[in-house]
Symmetry: C2
Subunit: 355 residues, 2 copies
C-alpha cells in the first residue's frame, strides 16, 4: 500500500498494542453501505461456514457510522474521505490494523457505471495491502445480500426516499431497473409518492384536479395555511428526503378513503412492481415456465407494513400473480452486514480457487 | 425616499446635467420583468392615449438588462440588488433621475403570495419618492400585458422552461394555475417535456418501457454513449433550463413518427390546455354560455411554431373546442414593455380618479 494523503486517518495503527494488531492472526472482512443519508461500516471475522448456516447473531466485531458518501452529492474528495474514515473507525474499534483485512466490499450509492467502480477500486488499492480483495457495488447489492446472507441470487427492491430494483442470476449476470433519481422517473419511491401528493394539492387548489383530503392533512403537518405557501416550502430546501417524509400522511389519507391518495399509492405499487418485473424478465429469474423459485428482498420505509394500506404487500400481490415462485424476504440484518457477507463470500470463493 | 443602503447605485443622479435631470418635466414609468434567467427594465415616457391606440413602435427611452432576480434562486439580498441596479441603469441611460418617475411595475418570478408582494413594495418605497405609484406582480402578468398592451383582461399561458397560466377579469379578479415548479407538477413545461423524454430513455433501457428513437437522438445531442451515463449528466447540474433545452430533440423525434415522443407532446398539450381551462373556468372569462370573447396571450419557447409538430397550435385547438370565443395573441413586444404599459395604465387610472 502506498503512503496515503490522509495519513492521519490511519495513525491509530501505530498505537495498537502489538499483540492486538493482528499478531494473533485474526482475519477480517469490511462491509460498507454508503448512502446519501449515512454510511455504515462493519468489521466481521472470516468464519468458515456456508450461506445457509451462519451463526446467529453474526459475530460483528465493530460498527462505525459516518455521513453522506455519495460522490454525486458531496463531491469525490469528501466522499472518499468519509469512506476511508469510516473504514478506519471500524478497524480501530476492532483493535486491528489493515494487515488483518482479507476483503473489502464497498456498496455505495452513485455507482451506476463500470467507470465509477474502477475509479473507486483504484483509490481503494492505495489504502489496503495489495493482497486484500476489493469489491465495489451499487448499495442496492448490499441490501440484496442482507436478505440472502451474502448469496448473489434473486432480486432486491428498495423503496425508501428513492427506489431501485437490482437482480443477479446464480451464474453472475446482473440487471437493474429505476434507481435513476426523481428527475429520471423513479415514481414509485417515497419522494415520488410525496411529490405527487403535493402536486395533487396544487392541482386541487388551482382547479386542475379534484378536491382531496391531502390538502388539509399535509398543510397541517407542515404548519402552513394555504397551498400557495407550498411553493416556498418546497423550494426552500428541495431535498428528496424532506419531501419523502410526507409518505405516512399520504398513507393515512388513503386509509381514510381519500381517492386521490389511493390513486397515488396504487400508481406507486404498479411502478415498483414494474421495476421488479423488468429485472426478473431480463435475467429470466423465474425460469422458462415463469414458476421458478427466486428470492425478492424488500427493503425501505415505503415497503414496511403501513397499518392497513400495506404498499409492500400490494407489490408482492402484483408480482406473485405473474411469478408464483417468488419468495419475499425482509432482511433481519442491515445492508452493511450484507456487504460484509459479500466480502466474505467473495473471499471464500477465491480461497477455494487458489487452494 | 429614505437614504438607501446601496447609495452608490444612484450616484449617477448627481452627475446628470441639470437640464436633463427632469428639469424639463419628463414623466416616465419603469417596467421590469424579472425572471430566473435574466431581468429586463425599460423606461417609457407617460403618453396620453388609450390601450388600443399606442404609437407604433412604442417610445422606449432606455432598456437595461441584468441577471437572475428570483429571490427563491439567489436569495433576498442579491435579488433586490439586481432589481435596484437594473432600474438605476434604465434611468441613467434615459438621462433622468428618480424624480421623473411616476409609476413602477415590478413583475418578478417568485411572487406567489400577498406577503411576497408586500415585502417588495415595502422595500421599493425606500428607493422612490413617496408619490411614485408602485405595483408588484408575478412575471406572468407582464407577459399578459405585453399581449394586451397593458390591459388586464384575459389569460396568458407561458410555457418555456416552466409553465403558468394567469388570468384577469375586467373587474379585477385574478386566478392562476400551475407555475409551481417541476416538483409540484408543472408537467406541460419545457422542463417537464424533456424530463419525461429522459425518463422514457431510462425506462426503455432497463426494460420498463418501449423502445424509442429518443434514446439515440438525445444521447447523440449530449455526446453520451450509454443511457447509464444520463444519471451522471442529469445530476451534475440539474438546472431546469439545461434540461428544458432538449425540447427541440423531442419535437424532432415526434415529427419523425416516434410514438413515445408523440405521447409526451400530447400529454404536454393536455396539461397546458388544462391550466388555461382552470383559469378561464374559475374567472368565467368565457361568459355564461361559454362563448364570450377573451384574449389568450401565448408566450414561451414551447408554444412557438415548431415546424410540423406545433405545440402552441395544438393547445389552441383543444381550448377553442370548449371556448369558441378565445382569441390567440402572440405578443410583439417583450414582457418588460408589458410591465411598463401596466405601470402606465395604473398611473392613468389613478390620475383620472384624482382629477
Amino acid at each position: 500500500m502506498k503512503r496515503h494523503r490522509n495519513g492521519e486517518i490511519w495513525d491509530f495503527e501505530h498505537e495498537l498494542p502489538a499483540v492486538a494488531a493482528n499478531q494473533c492472526g485474526v482475519d477480517v472482512v469490511l462491509g460498507l453501505d454508503g448512502g446519501t443519508t449515512s454510511t455504515v461500516c462493519v468489521c466481521m471475522p472470516v468464519i468458515p461456514c456456508s450461506h445457509s448456516h451462519f451463526p446467529d447473531p453474526l459475530p460483528v466485531l465493530a460498527r462505525a457510522v459516518a455521513g453522506c458518501s455519495n460522490h454525486n452529492s458531496v463531491g469525490e474528495t469528501a466522499a472518499r474521505e468519509t469512506l476511508e474514515q469510516v473504514m478506519a473507525d471500524a478497524l480501530a474499534k476492532s483493535g486491528l490494523n489493515r494487515t488483518a483485512v482479507r476483503a473489502v466490499c464497498l456498496a455505495v450509492s452513485g455507482v451506476n457505471h463500470p467507470t465509477d467502480q474502477q475509479r473507486i477500486i483504484d483509490w481503494l488499492s492505495d489504502i489496503f495491502p495489495s493482497r486484500v480483495q476489493l469489491y465495489v457495488q451499487n448499495d442496492a447489492v448490499a441490501a440484496l445480500a442482507s436478505g440472502t446472507m451474502g448469496k448473489l441470487h434473486g432480486c432486491v427492491l428498495i423503496a425508501g426516499t428513492g427506489t431501485i430494483a437490482y437482480g443477479f442470476t446464480e451464474d453472475g449476470r446482473e440487471a437493474r431497473a429505476a434507481g435513476a433519481g426523481p428527475i429520471l422517473g423513479d415514481w414509485g419511491s417515497g419522494y415520488g409518492i410525496a411529490a405527487q401528493a403535493l402536486t395533487a394539492i396544487v392541482r386541487a387548489h388551482d382547479g386542475r384536479g379534484p378536491h382531496t383530503m391531502l390538502t388539509s392533512c399535509i398543510l397541517q403537518t407542515l404548519d402552513l395555511v394555504s397551498p400557495d405557501e407550498l411553493i416556498g416550502w418546497t423550494y426552500a430546501d428541495p431535498s428528496w428526503a424532506r419531501i419523502a417524509a410526507l409518505v405516512p400522511v399520504v398513507v393515512s389519507c388513503a386509509e381514510a378513503g381519500d381517492e386521490v391518495a389511493n390513486t397515488i399509492l396504487l400508481d406507486s405499487v404498479q411502478e415498483l412492481a414494474s421495476s421488479v418485473k423488468a429485472v426478473v424478465q431480463r435475467l429470466g429469474l423465474c425460469g422458462e415456465d415463469g414458476k421458478d423459485y427466486f428470492p425478492l428482498v424488500m427493503v425501505g420505509g415505503v415497503l414496511e407494513a403501513n397499518k392497513r394500506w400495506d404498499i409492500g404487500k400490494e407489490v408482492m400481490n402484483y408480482i406473485s400473480k405473474d411469478y408464483p415462485g417468488v419468495q419475499a424476504i425482509r432482511p433481519t440484518v442491515e445492508p452493511a452486514v450484507g456487504a460484509a457477507l459479500l466480502a466474505w463470500s467473495f473471499f471464500m470463493k477465491e480461497s477455494k480457487k487458489s487452494s
